[in-house]
């Protein structure tokens, strides 16, 4: 590990009521094909130290120098700033000493470059042969390790690796243009790409989008909906995960991503039907945002954010937990060594129910099956949200019939979850990069859920 880690630990301890030192190193390699051509490769390596100090307020310094005198000066400045007035609560929780590592069967560092490039080339060719003239394929891997220690006695070291595949393609021209993006990721080695059938996924998507480009948009009216796992996953992330980040509830993100519709509510608060339970679990095996201890050295665990239609637990870092007066619960994540840990999601999913997927369609006279989504957004309190269907179909008399073009759910969080009357048992996950904080931090996450049925959704 970094030779300054122990020195910084000792030095920071002389001048603060509480402190922590966080070290991280990361190597990423990214290669890309675009419209039939290799489009470049980059390999980036970085490492650095973050020092967070508590005195009259909280102060953090981030440095990548290996010069100890320079590092001391930077820590001195942080100490001086920590004596300015400000918020000064940090949740201590339990002391942990641990080490964790993710196993890789096809190690990121050992996986042949030629194979990476062949995967990209093959995917580009498949997209072209299936009729997508515009296409981007990108393969990214990350190898990371780090160490965390604080003045309360926690000391955690870790090593992890992640794989991500991203694509974007377009079919059709003019007003009949349709596009798709796909993001797939996991915390493991290159064996991940053996677990997903990217060619089949892309063939299906291109085939459906070609049909969608020619399809009709749904008539305005009120429909029952069945949403696929990709849609239930984004809904869980946007309208449950984000509003239960406790820093948002208390306003710390107020000028950026905003607050929460839960601000000022009495808890537990009803958010929808009893069929709805939503979990965030950093320890879900293989998940893209997997960790055993968060970036504040707190042990991670599964948390129910909504349970049977009511709020349950919130996502906390040490700072927000202290303000609520609870123990930190392993939600403190930073996307890099030079970013502050904030309450973040990891793998957020709607808990599967007992229905078979086919059962959800039974009894729907006139409905819409939104299997996947394209454009989406939500307001800054995570209440007013929009999901535009990418792969979507009409449901008539319990049967999936015609392809539909870009149906739109534009509703609010309470209406959405209150309209849920059945949840299937087919849990699936999708990768995403969640943005928050300033400087913006993109955190790797999984979004998940099963098929879900909604009753009486009005579309314009």
């Amino acid at each position: 590990m970094n030779p300054l880690f122990d020195k910084a630990f000792e030095y920071a301890g002389k001048n603060s009521k509480w402190f922590e030192i966080r070290y991280m190193e990361r190597e990423t390699t990214r290669a890309m094909y675009r419209n039939g051509q290799f489009d470049g490769i980059d390999n980036n390596r970085e490492s650095g130290i973050a020092v967070r100090l508590l005195n009259d307020s909280i102060s953090s310094a981030y440095f990548d120098t290996t010069d100890w005198d320079a590092a001391k000066t930077i820590i001195d400045v942080a100490v001086r700033k920590s004596k300015f007035p400000g918020k000064n609560q940090i949740g201590i929780g339990r002391e942990d000493r641990a080490s964790w590592k993710i196993a890789q069967r096809k190690g990121i560092r050992d996986f042949p470059l030629e194979e990476k490039l062949q995967i990209l080339k093959d995917m580009d060719r498949i997209m072209e042969s299936e009729g997508a003239p515009m296409r981007i394929n990108e393969l990214l891997d990350k190898q990371m390790k780090g160490q965390y220690a604080n003045s309360s006695g926690s000391n955690v070291s870790w090593e992890s690796g992640r794989i991500q595949y991203f694509y974007m393609f377009g079919v059709g021209t003019g007003e009949e243009f349709e596009q798709s993006t796909g993001q797939f990721g996991a915390s493991m080695g290159y064996e991940y790409l053996d677990e997903i059938d990217l060619p089949e996924i892309v063939r299906n998507e291109i085939s459906v989008l070609k049909k969608a480009s020619q399809a009709k948009r749904p008539e305005p009216g009120t429909y029952d909906f069945v949403i696929g796992p990709e849609v239930s996953g984004i809904v869980a992330h946007e309208s449950c995960g984000h509003p239960t980040e406790y820093d948002r509830i208390i306003g710390r993100e107020g000028a950026l991503a905003g607050e929460s519709f839960l601000t000022g509510k009495e808890f537990p608060y009803r958010i929808g039907s009893e069929a709805v339970s939503i979990i965030d679990d950093p320890t879900y095996p293989g998940s893209y945002g997997y960790y055993q201890y968060d970036d504040e050295g707190v042990r991670a665990r599964k948390r129910y954010l909504y349970r049977n239609g009511m709020t349950s637990e919130f996502l906390h870092n040490r700072e927000s937990a202290a303000i609520l007066g609870v123990d930190p619960n392993g939600g403190g994540r930073s996307s890099s060594w030079d970013m502050e840990p904030l309450p973040r999601m990891s793998t957020t999913y709607i808990e599967p129910g007992n229905f078979e997927v086919d059962e959800l369609f039974e009894g729907i006279q006139r409905g819409i099956y939104m299997k996947s989504f394209t454009e989406w957004n939500i307001d800054d309190v995570r209440f007013n949200e929009k999901y535009v269907g990418k792969e979507a179909y009409l449901i008539e008399n319990g049967k999936v019939t015609d392809v539909l073009r870009r149906p739109v759910i534009e509703t609010n969080t309470i209406n959405f979850y209150s309209s849920v009357d059945a949840v299937a048992n087919d849990l699936q996950f999708h990768a995403a990069t969640c943005g928050k904080g300033d400087p913006e931090q993109g955190c790797d996450v999984w979004l998940g859920g099963p098929h879900v049925r909604l009753r009486g959704i009005r579309i314009a």
Binding site: E25, A31, R34, N35, Q37, F38, D39, G40, I41, D42, N43, N44, R45, E46, S47, S57, S59, S60, A61, Y62, F63, T66, V77, K81, F84, P85, K87, P133, M134, I136, G170, T173, G174, E175, F177, E178, Q179, G251, G254, A255, L256, D338, E340, T374, E375, N377, I378, D379, D380, N384, K386, V388, R406, T411, N412, G435, D438, E440, R458, A460
Partner: protein, 434 residues
């Protein structure tokens, strides 16, 4: 010898045709606040070097931050260069000798960001806001860029302000940026705090908005958000990839006759000041849309060569990018523009702009921080629950009035450092949640 020169010299022995090395030494401070008190003081001292190399059509790049493993980083870079296919679209880096004599070195703004944050907070509460949240950055960077053809050292600096004020369910937000040498920072902080509070207190509560087609008075923040998101469409990389609504539009009408959009990285009064691009080309102001006609894409030397034109000084060597977008001012006043709304909306800000169709620029964005229904030029109601669901071509074509005055706006990842006027836009599609 600087680290950039050192790395450049080490690379010379590998028989490369093109090398571009850029070292950035950054010293930045931030104060974040919420609930009327300070949350955290952040301080970054970082040193990183981006390296691009090419031999023939082969290209590879790296960012070096750990100089203790510099040799192995260079070895890995050369391995990638030697074991990857040709990048057929690469046409070299700018070989022209550049004249850097007009670049003035920036200095770090001498400001007390703790005090400025306090001024913003107090100004907002002094005007009646319940609470406020926001942040201040003071940034400074020394940059050394060494390429096969050029060498330059320069510095950039700037200060960024953001405050959002809350009163009940009403909010107002203000944010600005200045380059090095910005003055009267106390007044800026005070004015932003007061303005944010005034917007939050313009009416006492929100109503659910209505869907329909509206003439909208867009503040510099709202049009800045839309232009920021659309700015990638001007990159020739996007155009060539097939994901730009400005493809096949060169020389054609893409906006109202009054509309001029430019990229001006050479303007040192903003924090987007960028005197030199990634391949050492001196940047300059260029009109992208001039009187409604698309006149230029954003180019590096390589993309310009493929398009039979000259670089616009916007490298990203592989993918050119916008640096500091501007919309030229018009001939209206903000008051005249508000008065011109017979029945319309006045929207101060928006966020979460997302596209469902890049080829046609179809997007939606969620208004916030001042969404007002206007009748006969008078603000009647504050609205919530709506979004603008339209397209970039339609918004640009329907811009009507443009204010004389322009403002430096920058907010988080939603508005890049830019300079924008107020605009009125006709027939904007507004949807609502049910």
């Amino acid at each position: 010898m600087s680290i950039a020169d050192d790395i450049f010299d080490r690379l010379q022995k590998f028989g490369l045709d093109s090398i571009a090395v850029s070292n950035v030494k950054e010293d930045s401070s931030q104060v974040r606040f919420s609930g009327n008190s300070k949350d955290i003081h952040n301080h970054w001292v970082e040193d990183s070097t981006s390296v691009f190399v090419a031999r023939g059509k082969k290209t590879a790049s790296t960012i070096v931050k750990d100089y203790g493993i510099l040799d192995s980083s260079i070895d890995q870079l050369m391995f990638l260069l030697d074991h990857t296919p040709d990048n057929e679209s690469f046409m070299g880096i700018n070989p022209e000798k550049q004249d850097y004599s007009s670049i003035n070195g920036a200095r770090k703004n001498d400001v007390d960001i703790q005090e400025l944050a306090s001024i913003m907070i107090d100004s907002a509460t002094g005007k009646g806001a319940d609470r406020s949240a926001g942040l201040i950055y003071n940034n400074f960077a020394e940059v050394t860029t060494v390429t096969t053809h050029n060498r330059v050292q320069y510095s950039t600096g700037g200060t960024e302000f953001l405050i959002r004020a809350f009163k009940g369910d009403m909010t107002g937000q203000e944010a600005t940026h200045t380059g090095s040498g910005g003055s009267d920072m106390d007044s800026i902080a005070r004015s932003l705090g007061e303005q944010a509070a005034e917007t939050a207190m313009m009416l006492d509560h929100r109503k659910e908005g209505k869907q329909g087609k509206f003439r909208i008075l867009m503040s510099p923040y709202l049009i800045g958000n839309i232009v920021s998101y659309a700015s990638a469409y001007f990159s020739y990389y996007s155009v060539e990839s097939g994901f730009s609504c400005f493809a096949e539009s060169m020389g054609k009408k893409v906006g109202n006759d009054k509309l001029t959009i430019l990229d001006d990285p050479s303007d040192a009064s903003g924090s987007g000041f960028r005197p030199v691009d990634d391949e050492g080309t001196v940047t300059f102001s260029k009109n992208l849309v001039e009187n409604g006609i698309l006149r230029s894409y954003l180019h590096s030397y390589s993309t310009a060569s493929r398009n039979n034109t000259r670089t616009t000084g916007n490298a990203g060597i592989i993918a050119p990018m916008p640096f500091q977008m501007k919309m030229a001012g018009g001939d209206s006043s903000e008051q005249e523009m508000l008065a011109s709304l017979k029945e319309g909306l006045y929207i101060r800000n928006a966020w979460y702009t997302r596209f469902q169709d890049d080829r046609n620029g179809v997007f939606s964005t969620v208004p916030r921080d001042g969404v007002f229904y206007v009748q006969d030029g008078e603000i009647k109601e504050a609205w919530g629950g709506i979004r603008i669901s339209d397209s970039i071509p339609s918004v640009l074509a329907n811009i009507d009035l443009i204010s004389k005055e322009t403002w430096n706006v920058k907010w988080w990842e939603e508005i890049f450092p830019s300079t924008m006027p107020y605009v009125t836009v006709n027939e904007v599609n507004v949807s609502r949640a049910f």
